[in-house]
């Protein structure tokens, strides 16, 4: 497996979601062109019934208040048979929002003709992790976060994505900025609330500069103070559920951040800091390293990191330019496949290879079983880049168990023909294993678990 992959394999796997039958031959004619053509293409997502984050927050808040009122009116009596009570409980449940989002994510991956934007969305969504482990407030809007703050910006400016993320309710909830008050703000003074550094620190450490980015603890505190007042409107009204700057929570006065004084009024103070760190050379290196590690290999090739970092800086963080540099770099077309497909991507790749719609299978449970619950990372750092974890012994066997139950649903597929249609070049051992299998189903299971399919 240490040979250079074919162009079609790079195009459909390293920068794609795994081929659907026909996609390999489509990409083979001009593999780089196949990928480059997708840059900037941002198809509208299919499901129109998904709600925006402010709608979701409004609905849940309103239903929560009605539930409270109902419980107050009928205190002591059993409400479990009350239809209105049950309906309200359904509205409050975060699963009501996150489940359709997860389904749509699988569906979009399964059916996409522009897999690059899906892959970039997964990458950036992981880079700016929010996790439903935080609780129902984040869970309910985790899918909306990806649609609103990530996906629209993957070919835009990095600084715009950083700003959209930092102002999104999901992130404000996830990293506690909605409860962070400036010590000298009116709220801080009156209600003995204080500063929470969580969002400020993670923006610097994880989202922008990186842990070696040259900032100090004092800078974290200064930035966290600048971010106070960035909240989510929870009072009833038209703006409920949207980002809001609340001066009463904001720490008054200038802050000194990385040797520079920021004395802008209100919200502009933190915006100015975000704009500064978004185009910082440390950020360029950090992002370049993560991109290379995600798409090529971990640890990333230093020369590629240098080149991507250079493009990032020259273009002021134009992510279309950075993406173009990544997918046209010779290193991207030469590195042997070494990245284990994460569970979500693996499930999607299997669905595409077998042409099995995700609606017919418990796909989310499968990905969770393999270790990756969608929007369920265990820390703000997201899923590990050292992805051997995905090929842990137990996870590997779970994948095989699952694959063997799924392949019968594909019907009578000719395994070798399908191998050529979705992978192209097969190693001799894999070709033999598929050809000599006991049954078509076994042959397909071996194909989908082969190193060629597991790695990209």
């Amino acid at each position: 497996m240490s040979t250079t992959p074919s162009g079609a394999v790079v195009a459909t796997r390293r920068f794609g979601l795994g081929a659907r039958p026909g996609e390999v031959s489509e990409a083979a004619a001009d593999p780089r062109g196949y990928v480059v053509r997708q840059i900037g293409v941002t198809p509208v997502q299919g499901a129109a019934d998904l709600q925006s984050s402010d709608q979701i927050i409004q609905r849940r808040l309103r239903a929560g208040q009605e539930l409270k009122a109902l419980a107050g009116q009928q205190s002591g009596s059993d409400l479990s048979d009350d239809a209105n009570y049950q309906a309200l409980r359904q509205i409050v449940r975060p699963a009501a929002y996150v489940q359709p989002e997860v389904s749509e994510r699988f569906e979009a991956g399964f059916s996409s003709d522009n897999p690059l934007i899906e892959r970039l969305t997964y990458f950036w969504s992981d880079h700016f992790t929010v996790s439903r482990l935080k609780g129902s407030k984040v869970t309910a809007v985790a899918g909306a976060f990806e649609r609103e703050a990530i996906r629209p910006y993957v070919y835009g400016r990095f600084s715009d994505m950083v700003l959209a993320v930092a102002k999104h309710p999901a992130m404000l909830f996830y990293l506690d900025n909605d409860i962070s008050a400036g010590p000298d703000s009116r709220v801080g003074q009156r209600k003995s609330r204080g500063l929470n550094e969580n969002l400020g620190r993670e923006i610097l450490e994880l989202h922008t500069l990186g842990v070696q980015g040259g900032y100090t603890q004092a800078d974290v505190i200064a930035f966290a103070k600048a971010l106070t007042g960035w909240r989510v409107e929870m009072a009833p009204g038209d703006a409920t559920g949207r980002f809001v700057f609340v001066p009463q929570w904001h720490e008054p006065g200038p802050v000194e951040f990385m040797g520079q004084v920021y004395d802008q009024p209100g919200m502009e103070q933190a915006e100015a800091i975000l704009n500064y760190v978004s185009v910082h050379p440390a950020t360029a290196r950090h992002i370049a390293g993560e991109l290379a590690a995600h798409f090529l290999q971990s640890p990333p090739p230093p020369a590629l990191v240098d080149r991507l970092s250079g493009v990032f800086l020259e273009s002021d963080g134009d992510l279309a330019a950075v993406t173009r540099a990544l997918v046209t770099d010779d290193a991207s077309w030469q590195a042997p496949p070494s990245k284990v497909l994460p569970p979500f991507d693996f499930v999607v790749a299997v669905l595409r290879a077998l042409e099995l719609p995700p609606s017919e299978l418990p796909v989310e449970a499968a990905a969770a079983l393999f270790g990756q619950r969608t929007w369920g990372a265990t820390s703000p750092k997201g899923w590990p880049a050292e992805d051997e974890i995905w090929a842990s012994p137990a996870a590997l066997l779970k994948r095989l168990d699952w694959v063997e139950t799924v392949v019968p649903r594909a019907g009578d597929v000719d395994p070798l023909a399908r191998a050529d249609a979705v992978l192209g070049d097969l190693s001799e051992p894999t070709r033999n294993a598929v050809a000599r299998a006991e049954s078509r189903h076994q042959a397909l299971a071996l194909l989908l678990m082969s190193p060629e399919f597991l790695l990209r």
Partner: protein, 402 residues
């Protein structure tokens, strides 16, 4: 507020929840009381597909053949159970031996479909389609037989396949259904073994991981087995138990199809103590579990056990056998005219072998199928011809079913 995520319980495979008990089976399969529930004598048919090509000579060994010891060197049976003057049964199948002695089991030997090449996929296509060649149809003979029966005798209950997929033998216009047994959704030992072999050749770290996981799984499994009842020990036996529960119902299916994998014994065949011996023991236990589960219905049941083709007569260089032709079929149940091995024995002399290597087939598998279909579905000659096109050379085998 806690996160109420419960994705694992959400959106289950619809079929998994389909039926939980045999009582529910009756309700769901029947939607009221169907015509067939009023026929207490209604026969049952079970087809067991052994995938991977069974070494028939290691199941019922022609120990009386003068060339047996020489040609089967390395694979001969010790302590075989004598069936008649020529054949002994593999001692891993004591249950089948008892059924045979009670005339509730029979063997047809030197059997093959018309297919003479050696690809598993194509061989299974021919076996299940009932056509003389592969790729001629998208339907299976069993489905077409059910269709013919409905045309002649009125509605038939939907046939049932155990497993996620519908095997070709049951595909077609007649109504059928499938059942996945949740207790048995592990990958098969054969597939695990092959994948491990592939990893060893291509990616040592994947090989190491998979080997470790399989080992742990085996440990966890044997620990669980200590606490479980014997019938839960493995997938096939458990599937047979479930199949029996469905078939026993007065309004349940008349036809069941069940798969068993892992018979492709190229390496270390182990006809008695090894891999094949274990598979045969499992098959044996499965047949007894089916009989016990069916209770009185066993008397009107026919079980047909078939495989896509046989294996080489001689042992290969890795103490196994390679893809061949002639093999055997097993029959069991109260519907079988049992206690005999039916064969037009071609002999194991080197000159008698097909292409110098395989047991020469002398009975067409379709002759067995046609005998069973004739009896079970009450089909006449023209119906049988529609079910098995171009099968004039393979008349129903006489005196096989009661």
């Amino acid at each position: 507020m806690t996160d109420e995520f419960d994705g694992r319980l959400r959106r289950p495979l619809p079929r998994r929840r389909f039926l939980q008990t045999s009582a529910a089976a009756a309700a769901v399969l029947a939607f009221g009381t169907p015509a067939w529930a009023e026929q207490p004598e209604r026969p049952r048919l079970v087809v067991v597909l052994l995938r991977g090509a069974v070494d028939g000579l290691a199941v019922a060994a022609p120990v009386g053949d003068p060339h047996y010891a020489e040609m089967r060197a390395g694979l001969t049976l010790e302590d075989g159970i004598p069936l008649d003057g020529l054949f002994s049964l593999n001692p891993s199948m004591p249950g089948f031996a008892r059924l045979f002695a009670d005339r509730q089991a029979a063997i047809v030997h030197a059997v093959a479909t018309p297919y003479r090449n050696r690809s598993h996929f194509d061989g299974q296509d021919v076996l299940e389609s009932g056509y003389p060649e592969r790729g001629q149809t998208d339907s299976g003979w069993l489905n077409r037989a059910i269709g013919e029966a409905a045309r002649r005798g009125g509605p038939q209950p939907p046939a049932l396949a155990i497993g996620a997929s519908l095997p070709l033998i049951l595909r077609g216009p007649a109504p059928v259904t499938t059942w996945i047994n949740e207790a048995t959704t592990r990958s098969s030992p054969g597939t695990r073994e092959r994948l491990l072999d592939l990893y060893k050749q291509t990616n040592p770290s994947l090989a190491e991981g998979l080997a470790r996981a399989v080992e742990l799984d085996a440990t966890a499994r044997s620990d669980a087995e200590l606490k479980a009842t014997p019938s839960r020990r493995n997938g096939f036996v458990e599937d047979m138990r479930v199949l029996a529960a469905f078939l026993r119902e007065s309004s349940g299916p008349s036809v069941g199809v069940i798969d068993s994998d892992g018979w492709d014994t190229h390496v270390k065949e182990g006809p008695q103590k090894g891999r094949l011996g274990r598979l045969l023991a499992e098959l044996d236990q499965g047949l007894l579990t089916l009989r016990d589960g069916l209770g009185p219905v066993w008397a009107q049941t026919t079980v047909v056990v078939v495989t896509e083709f046989g294996r080489t007569v001689r042992m290969n260089g890795t103490t196994g056998t390679d893809h061949g032709n002639g093999t055997l079929a097993l029959l069991a149940g109260g519907g079988v005219a049992g206690g005999k091995v039916v064969a037009d024995w071609p002999g194991l002399a080197p000159g008698s072998l097909y292409e110098g290597r395989d047991l020469q087939p002398t009975i067409d598998t379709r002759s067995i199928f046609k005998a069973v279909a004739e009896r079970h579905f009450g089909l006449d000659g023209s119906s049988l011809d529609r079910v098995f096109p171009s099968s004039g050379s393979a008349p129903p085998l006489p005196r096989l079913v009661t």
